[in-house]
């Protein structure tokens, strides 16, 4: 460990106040060259806020930042970029209208005689992305690619910008294992080059895999910094939660699978997803596994009518139904918690309360407003049940921390009491404590007879709650695992190019 050397970056007493909330209370953070420093904490602990104060995205209310023995005070992200601090913020913050290459090099495009050289930029982009194992066309607009690809591009951009410090705020949420490995290999390289890297995540295995030290935040305060070589997972979790995480015994009640709820035949859309058959019964959790871009999100969206299928039939309890748009899906008591919560999930300026009742109200119709008392009752119940951390139910939802937004969205759909719940990356950005809660919740819903379809990149999680796992590749269902076949290694095998015997 490089603790003998001088720190690269030192933060002292950083504080940040929001109306109704103290997000950071005199936080200290020290980064040494060549270390990966994990920043841990529950949802809403203040991790992202700390990063934003550090990089000048927010004005801090107190505290000093010292970079290489010099006090700095970045007023904008531009300043911090110039100082050699590269950052990936929590939500993918790239410009969908620009091309991949333009996003990568915005602000420092290769110039040629005073003008941007597009050609040089494309080559450079291609080389850079190859390092991350991404073979996308850098001349395409970014919006043509999935969130996962965008996240990798964002990381690549931040890496390019970081001369001294690289900050990654939940970079691996919704990335699959291969991508994560690639990113870790890049991080190792940077580490060897002497960069200090801040790594925020809720995946503790990843923390232990790559990080040297960890600082844990709770309610805006540092509760401890540990060398990970000397610490155990339990210790860290206890620090984060302030209590022990009860070990849930995996006594999976034998799936009490009920009648067929929904039956899709030859359902698909050209150029988007190959037609597939799918039957989901009550009391069943169907997991969707696959690599990036394998079509999990597409499957979810097409079933919910977010994109309209151009072929195939859908039957609900034997009756033919049409799902041409989400509204119809909602009237059939479907629910979809989308992958991209920022653009497809939250309604940023509406209050948390309104966000929670939105879908229910939409189904009730315009002229039957939910009574105030009922609204409050619902909202409070879900805030409590899902442990959503907020200053008040009236605050705009965009001010919640990422993980809490995710929980609020879950609450929105649970409030509609759906018969068929589709979850796309439901635990994206959710902390360990809540993670366990959500898995438990999924199991409980199943036991209550709800039908669920869950797409996730986290295989352990899928294994934990699925009664059946469908594996997708190249937008095609390639195999289905049931019962005791559902193991991580089987899923990995199915995802990899070894078609299994029981392929659909």
């Amino acid at each position: 460990m490089a603790s003998v050397t001088d720190p690269v970056l030192e933060c002292r007493g950083i504080s940040k106040f929001f109306p109704g909330a103290i997000a950071l209370d005199a936080v200290d953070l020290t980064l040494y060259p060549g270390e990966v420093h994990a920043l841990l904490g529950e949802n809403g602990a203040g991790k992202s806020t700390l990063i934003k104060c550090l990089t000048g995205a927010y004005r801090r209310d107190a505290g000093t930042i010292v970079l290489n023995n010099q006090e700095i005070s970045p007023n904008s992200t531009q300043d911090s970029q110039k100082l050699g601090i590269g950052t990936v913020y929590q939500e993918v913050n790239l410009l969908p209208n620009l091309t991949v290459a333009e996003n990568l090099f915005l602000g420092r495009q290769p110039m040629w005689h005073g003008f941007i050289s597009q050609r040089k930029m494309m080559t450079m982009a291609r080389d850079l992305l190859a390092e991350f194992g991404l073979s996308v066309n850098p001349a395409e607009p970014l919006s043509a690619y999935s969130v996962a690809v965008q996240q990798v591009v964002a990381i690549a951009r931040a890496v390019e910008l970081s001369g001294k410090v690289l900050i990654l705020d939940e970079p691996t949420a919704s990335l699959d294992r291969d991508e994560v490995d690639l990113i870790f290999s890049v991080i190792e390289k940077l580490k060897a080059r002497g960069l200090a890297i801040v790594f925020i995540t809720h995946f503790l295995d990843q923390v232990f895999e790559i990080s040297d030290r960890a600082t844990v935040l709770r309610n805006g305060r540092v509760v401890g910094t540990r060398r990970l070589a000397d610490a155990s997972q339990t210790e860290i979790v206890t620090l984060m939660l302030g209590r022990q995480l009860e070990d849930r015994i995996h006594d999976r009640a034998p799936p009490a699978i009920g009648d067929t709820l929904i039956e899709l035949t030859n359902f698909g859309k050209r150029g988007m997803i190959t037609p597939f058959d799918l039957t989901v019964r009550k009391g069943e959790v169907v997991g969707l596994a696959g690599l990036l871009g394998s079509g999990r999100t597409e499957t979810a969206e097409i079933i919910f009518g977010a994109v309209q299928a151009d072929q195939g039939d859908a039957r609900l309890e034997g009756k033919k139904i049409s799902i041409r748009n989400p509204r119809e899906a909602v009237t059939h008591r479907f629910a979809l918690c989308p992958e991209d919560r920022k653009s497809d999930g939250i309604v940023g300026d509406l209050s948390v309360r309104e966000n929670i009742i939105l879908a229910l109200q939409a189904r009730q119709g315009w002229f039957r407003p939910l009574p105030k008392a009922k609204v409050n009752e619902l909202a409070e119940a879900y805030v409590k049940a899902l442990d959503i951390r907020l200053a008040s139910l009236d605050m705009p939802i965009r001010l919640l921390s990422g993980g809490n937004q995710q929980k609020a969205l879950l609450a929105r759909w649970l409030a509609t009491n759906p018969a068929f719940l589709i979850l796309d990356e439901p635990t994206r950005g959710i902390d360990v404590g809540a993670h366990a809660e959500i898995i438990a919740l999924i199991e409980k819903l199943r036991e209550d007879g709800m039908a669920l379809l869950v797409a996730s990149s986290e295989l352990e999680e899928l294994v934990a709650y699925s009664t059946r796992v469908i594996v997708l590749r190249d937008r095609r269902q390639v195999s289905e695992l049931t019962g005791d076949d559902i193991t991580t290694s089987n899923i990995v095998a199915a995802i990899a190019d070894e078609p299994m015997a029981e392929a659909v």
Binding site: S76, T87, N93, P96, G107, A144, K269, G271
Partner: protein
Amino acid sequence: MIRSTHLPLLITIATFLLAFTLCASQYPAMLSTRVVANLLTDNAFLGIAAVGMTFVILSGGIDLSVGSVIAFTGVFLAVILRDTSIHPLVAFVLVLAITISFGAAMGAMIHYLEMPPFIVTLAGMFLARGAAYVLSTDSVPITHEFYDTLQSLYWKAPGGGRFRLTGIIMLLTFLAGIIVAHRTRFGQNVYALGGGLSTARLMGVPLARTTIGIYATSGGLAGLAGIIFSLYTSAGYSLATVGVELDAIAAVVIGGTLLTGGTGFVAGTFFGILIMGLIQTFIVFDGTLSSWWTKIVIGGLLFGFILLQKGLTWATTLRRKPATEFAAQS
């Protein structure tokens, strides 16, 4: 391979060519060099203003002040050339300095006071026209011999068309606009702003500089358009060019730029201008429309072009990756 992002531009060009062919087949006289030269000369000031408007719209903003700024420029030039003996070139520099600062001031208000561009530039529109009134309510002729010299610079093509200096200046402005938009950091920052303000901020785009730069550019180009307009009419008139901002916006939009910002091309605006000019020429050639039918037909053709564009875009994107379809709808 054609870059998918260029599609709207190609569609605009195709639309123009198609429309021109249709018009010419009805009125063969429209194929003369006169008509072509007129399209360039008569729309020179509008084109220049529209280049600035393109930048503004690309950044997700809007500039309602251009028409008034053009009128102000004209009146300012006319009054200063009438009342003092300074050379027009000096006056040009002076008026450009004023309009650039005016635009920059609006940009600064938009950025620092976080006010919506629509409203700031609406106030700017009132102010610029008001200032023109205060300078002179009369229309003031400009009789400087330098103006005559500039006006006599034209090339008379066979068939009687006169390709004038003003048309050339418009083409050069477009060329410069295209280069700035795609080959400079400023241009990229404009697109970045249009893609999303807070994202651009997090990515380190210098917001203040870019926003002020954009509106200064628009103000300056409106000033240049004002100079061209004063050359065009040899006069300054405070009631001139009312509503030109709407024409410019329409041209930009017909040219395939999205008003939500972030996507579009300066070159598209050029064809947008030509399409608008074509509509007017066609109406005059027809010559049977009453005042009210003129308005209805202009509106109808505007609608037709937008629809055509939508249709073509729709037809050509059907085959493309639908992964982005949902995002594109919002």
